[in-house]
């Protein structure tokens, strides 16, 4: 334990130098901006700033890039709440209840709970990294293809719980998402699927055009079609910028649960952080005494997933730092930034470069503190944004969406695709089909397919591999139990009764 404090002291010694504090601040600020602008993601930003880090001390460069990465998680929730526009995969579920809160005049509270929940999660996850990096990495490492597949099965069944309407519609939306996720080149055979001969579709449909189209543009169309007074409903009754005591009481347990689940899922190499926010939301909805509040502005629906995605973003550094396995594109870029300085990420980093490792861990905590400092005063300003008449606001939204989607791959086709998904989003809204389960199907579908096929190849075609491996079996049993709960007529009856009341 003395060792632990010694290490932390070393880390803060590195992170608290004026230079490194400055880089952490720049990273957090840029990250927040990048997160707020829909579509402009941390991957593109980090790639653009990568050459700059050649001239910096490795630890300074890493601190700045890390700041951008988790800063974007913070900023992404702002647009999700204010204009129903998820900029990152992790803010999709924040749209559901966060935007409803804004519609109810509680935008300030939603933003505050997102910032505070993220801060709490960031602190906890940083502590976790400092204390348990090596053993946690081992947990992540024990996940092979069969374990991932079973985890995805559990995730998809849980997705049905995301919706707050008819189960049939939720299942249909998950399936639609799976189908959209299949578009592109089959990784195993190189064959094209659903591309209609268009080369441009051979890389598949991107997440950003789909999410911005279905959530954001769909919402814009719906708002424009509805009469003037409904549009302005948003702006008329902003009641207080801060959390009420009652809201705080509801939010903090959700935040704690989200943090724990996010920290665990973030450790899984590849896709773990994406699952965190979804898992956080599902858990809150399952535990709530009155699940019908979800989808109508339940504060737990913001606190849970926002804490989960930030915790996941932090712990996704564990496989990168301790195993040298990048969990996502940003981590791959950071490995690039490190190797340029001759540092090989891997188990030896902690012992060979303690100042770098602990400096980075300490900077994560400081970065989270900075983000709260940057973001809390901004809440007032963001909420003022809602007072802009919608006929002007929506033009700005559309412009930023178009720019964001275009700069992602410099591809005009994706802008057209976004517009088409906007129409789909509006149709779904009118049909009362919820887009969140569709997006989960879209994200998980390709991962699930790849891991299923990989597992079957590994076992030479023997499906028993999913049952013979204990972790996989455990996850499948959990999925079966969840299915049973959803399917049980008695419980279903109660579920629908609840919805009719709401």
């Amino acid at each position: 334990m003395g060792d632990f404090f010694g290490n932390l002291a070393l880390g803060f010694g590195v992170a608290l130098t004026p230079t490194n504090l400055g880089f952490a601040f720049v990273g957090c600020l840029v990250g927040t901006l990048v997160g707020v602008l829909p579509g402009i993601g941390p991957v593109a930003t980090v790639a653009m700033l990568l050459p700059l880090t050649f001239y910096l001390e490795p630890v300074s460069g890493l601190i700045m890039l890390a700041g951008i990465f988790y800063g974007a998680q913070y900023g992404g929730s702002t647009t999700a709440i204010l204009v129903n526009m998820p900029g990152e995969t992790s803010s999709v579920v924040t749209c559901i209840d966060g935007h409803q809160m804004a519609r109810n005049g509680r935008a300030g509270a939603a933003l505050a709970v997102a910032a505070l929940g993220s801060f709490f999660a960031g602190c906890f996850a940083t502590l976790l990294i400092a204390l348990f990096s090596p053993p946690l990495a081992k947990v992540g490492q024990s996940f092979g293809a069969p374990e991932y597949f079973s985890l995805m099965v559990l995730g998809l069944i849980a997705a049905v719980v995301l919706a707050h309407g008819s189960i049939i519609k939720a299942v249909a939306m998950v399936l639609l998402g799976l189908l959209l996720g299949l578009v592109g080149t089959d990784g195993n055979t190189g064959g094209a699927r659903f591309t209609f001969g268009a080369t441009i579709l051979s890389a598949g449909i991107g997440f950003v055009p789909l999410a911005i189209g279905v959530f954001g543009l769909g919402e814009v169309i719906a708002n424009l079609i509805s009469p003037q007074h409904r549009r302005d409903l948003l702006t008329n009754k902003i009641s207080g910028l801060w959390l009420t005591w009652e809201e705080f009481r509801q939010a903090w347990p959700a935040s704690v649960r989200g943090t724990i689940i996010g920290s665990l899922l973030g450790v899984l190499p590849g896709g773990g952080a994406t699952l965190s926010a979804f898992a956080g939301y599902v858990l809150e909805k399952k535990l709530a005494r009155d699940p019908s509040r979800f989808g109508k502005g339940a504060i737990e629906g913001v606190a849970g997933p926002e804490s989960a995605n930030n915790a996941g973003a932090q712990t996704s550094f564990i496989p990168m730092l301790t195993l040298g396995i990048p969990g996502n594109a940003v981590m791959a870029l950071m490995i690039g930034a490190l190797t340029i300085h001759g540092i090989q990420p891997g188990p030896q980093v902690m012992t060979e470069r303690p100042a770098l490792f602990w400096g980075m861990v300490a900077s994560m905590w400081l970065g989270n503190l900075m983000l709260v400092v940057i973001n809390l005063p901004l809440i007032g300003m963001w909420v003022q944004l809602l007072k802009v008449p919608y006929r002007m606001l929506y033009l700005a939204i559309l412009l930023f969406c178009a720019i964001g989607v275009y700069t992602l791959n410099n591809n005009a086709f994706e802008v057209i695709l976004t517009a088409l998904f906007g129409v789909l989003g509006y149709v779904l809204l009118r049909l009362e089909c919820e887009p969140a389960p569709m997006l989960l199907g879209f994200i998980l579908g390709p991962l699930m397919e790849e891991n299923l096929r990989r597992a079957m190849r590994i076992s030479s075609g023997d499906p028993m591999i999913f049952i013979n491996r204990p972790i996989s079996l455990g996850l499948l049993i959990a999925a079966a139990l969840l299915l049973l709960i959803v399917a049980l007529p008695a419980i279903r009856g109660k579920r629908e009764e609840v919805f009719q009341e709401g």
Binding site: V43, A44, V46, A47, L50, P51, F54, Q141, S142, F143, G144, A145, T185, D186, G187, N188, T189, G190, G191, A192, T199, I200, S202, A203, G204, P269, G270, L323, G324, I325, P326, A329, V330, A332, L333, I335, G336, T339, I340, H341, G342, Q344, P345, G346, P347, Q348, N409, N410, N411, E450, R454, R457, I458, S460
Partner: protein
Amino acid sequence: MIRLMLTALVCLVLGSSAQAQDRFPSKPIKIILPYGAGSATDIITRIMCEQLRQILAQSCVVENKPGAFGIIAIEEMARARPDGYTLQVGNVSTNAITPVLFKDKLTINYERDVVAISRLADLPTFLMATTRNFPPKTLAEFIAYAKQRPAKLKYATPGAGSFPHYDMEILSQRAGIAMEAIHIKAGPPGFINDMSLGDIHVAYMNVATSAPQIKAGTLRAIVTTTDKRLADYPDVPTMAEAGYPGVGTTLWAGLFAPAATPPAVLEMLHKAVVQALRSPQVLDAYTKQNIRSGPSGSLAEAKTWLQGEIASWQKITKDIKIDLAD
């Protein structure tokens, strides 16, 4: 008065455009890349770009346009105005195998419309094996081990028809063994974990990705596909030393331009790139990443090199039949 102003304006416009032709480059150069940010080819390009910016006194912008085996990036470059401002960096997969294997999918005539400015660099490749449940330490032991377990060993590739797929099939054919391929789109970052669990036994991996795993002891380098042993890994023999000369591809990256680009501009770009690749800054950054700088000596040499690569892959894809669904 108005006429005078207009004349001045016209002069200004004409003058500036004439100047633009005189002094290449007068605006930023765009390099299209068929891989995502953070990939090996991306890092090779960005390090070179940074130096190119200082040599040409113009910024150099990397645009990542992944997908469709590089077809999207190659076609955009080939169709761009041939003025030297739109270039493409590609590797052996996108710019030597794709033009052979997916000739029908390309809507341009690759050999007529694309010209190589220079070879840039290469990244040595290892044949890697897991240490979890796989005792062989040398290529001979590995082949003997595989012969006792026909079609039982699994190997990973980044996709059907990728060069690691061909390379493993060539090795299997020469050695008389049979193994099962598992294609994982994400490449090594997507399958290192499967290998350390012992679910997948062998794979070709570049040295940058392999290094941390070798150091941690989860994976072992069996042979390198380079012509000489690597300075950092003196114990790892070459394919030729292990008895299989000519097997295995080294991942190279090259810089390409539309064929109609003026020869003077191509010449200037070639010189600048060679200067960048020989600068201490680039050499230093590359060495740390285990990347070997390797520019072509002249434009003519770059042309012969690309023709040779295409011819070699035409032969390989004819000799080794890989079933590719369309």
